[in-house]
Symmetry: C2
DNA sequence: GCGAATTTTGAATTCAATTCATGAAATGAT
DNA sequence: ATCATTTCATGAATTGAATTCAAAATTCGC
């Protein structure tokens, strides 16, 4: 009978409603001021109902991070499938992140917060697992591309596993997002265009890793053009938003 | 009269007492379980007294992060002053961080947490300022070294400012610390020796940035030897602890 | 030693997260 | 359709930790 399924769907819809409400409240008042009762109120449900979906505030935050991951994954997959060299596509992942960071400025701040051990450690294992799984395709896309590059002879792993190679740009972009999304750090040091720098650094890193073809990092125009092209053709979005 | 100064010193000592107590409680029970009343209790003071030093829990955490920075700064300064090529010293900063991360495993987790905008945003401006200043020498050491390298012809900035060059390894190491110090990420992907990888990535990055002399990243033994040497001679610490 | 000023104290307050007794709605057997 | 049963939604009440603040203790200047 379809009754159970309908109910299941309604519950899923309500969960999405809560997540959207939380996201919108975070945009308005910041993560700092998010209150569970406000989330419930905004959806015209009692707090108890909210707690049937998320056993704690941490649970809600991690669920939200997982939910938002899908959109980022979609961008990564499009880059992975793009018609371009392995190297351009690797850089393209960074471009995808730049686009995504602009579209959802709160996302990386949320990610940074939930991956803090204070929050992560207070989150139920099942939810953590789901969050890891929601993000896994990002890594997988990078790993697949690395495999492809090795297979095509574009990249000599020189003793590293694909997973280890993947870690390098991952760390670089994680670190940059963390630095950029922190008021106080940027405002103090005033990096003109941190994300433009990110592309250059990753390009340098890929050169250092020996990913062919070697590409001149000095040629900012060429990097911009590549980013531009990927944004337009692959992500259907303008680069300088 | 020395009365005021004595009192001032007593207050400073007590502040240190609180910070040490907080650090020790965090080591025992984790950041998640830190309670202001416990910190006060552990020092045999009333909570109110604790609140004369730190206006909020966030304030205490940021103060703790600032306090711990000094030790890390000392390591950086020793590396900066070491007798070694500019390039070896740049890598040496990473070695210093590795040593420091081993000595104070909680430090990077705390840093990651306090630089979260939830915590940072709830911290009084004066304390934030102090925290930035406590960390500034790390950056300064790197900047000085970069200037020296450019001056000595070891490094062609190729259009980047020293500050921008500095950002690259900074982001890389920030990102790696964040990934490494997060249970769940490492445990899942099982990177054998993440910090050994860090040296290699930074080495690759320096190659990519064109920092001379070009150094073979494949030669793990050479990197280990350098790390070993720096640990022993400069940091007076064994590398494989 | 004495009153004013400063500091310390910890019980009381606050405030958001979380629980749970209650009643409402859905289900399903008769 | 009716009633017993289970399941679900509710929001007032509870909890627990951060924070406050009036009273007590201490220090200071004379």
């Amino acid at each position: 009978m379809g009754t159970r399924e309908r109910r299941q769907r309604e519950v899923a819809e309500r969960e999405q409603l809560f997540l959207d409400a939380a996201r919108s409240l975070i945009r308005e008042d910041g993560l700092l001021n998010l209150q569970m009762s406000r989330v419930a109120e905004k959806c015209d449900y009692a707090v108890g109902t909210l707690y049937q979906h998320f056993v704690s505030k941490e649970d809600l935050l991690v669920a939200l991070a997982s939910d938002q991951a899908q959109e980022r994954v979609d961008l990564f997959v499009r880059v992975y499938r793009a018609k371009a060299s392995t190297r351009d596509r690797m850089l393209g992942f960074a471009v995808a992140d730049i686009v995504y960071a602009r579209r959802r400025p709160e996302h990386f701040r949320l990610l940074q917060f939930v991956f803090t051990d204070v929050i992560w450690g207070a989150t139920p294992p099942a939810r953590r697992q789901a969050c890891m799984e929601a993000h896994a395709p990002l890594r997988q896309a990078a790993l697949d591309l690395i495999d492809e590059a090795i297979g095509a002879g574009d990249l000599d792993p020189r003793g590293l596993t694909p997973s280890e190679i993947c870690l390098a740009p991952w760390a670089m972009s994680t670190g940059l997002h963390a630095i950029v999304h922190n008021e106080g750090l940027v405002e103090q040091h005033q990096f003109a265009e941190p994300y433009r720098l990110m592309l250059r650094y990753i390009n340098d890193l890929l050169n250092g890793l020996g990913w062919k073809p070697w590409t001149d990092s000095t040629d900012a125009a060429a990097l911009d053009a590549l980013a531009e092209r990927l944004c337009k053709e692959v992500l259907h979005e303008s680069y300088c938003a």
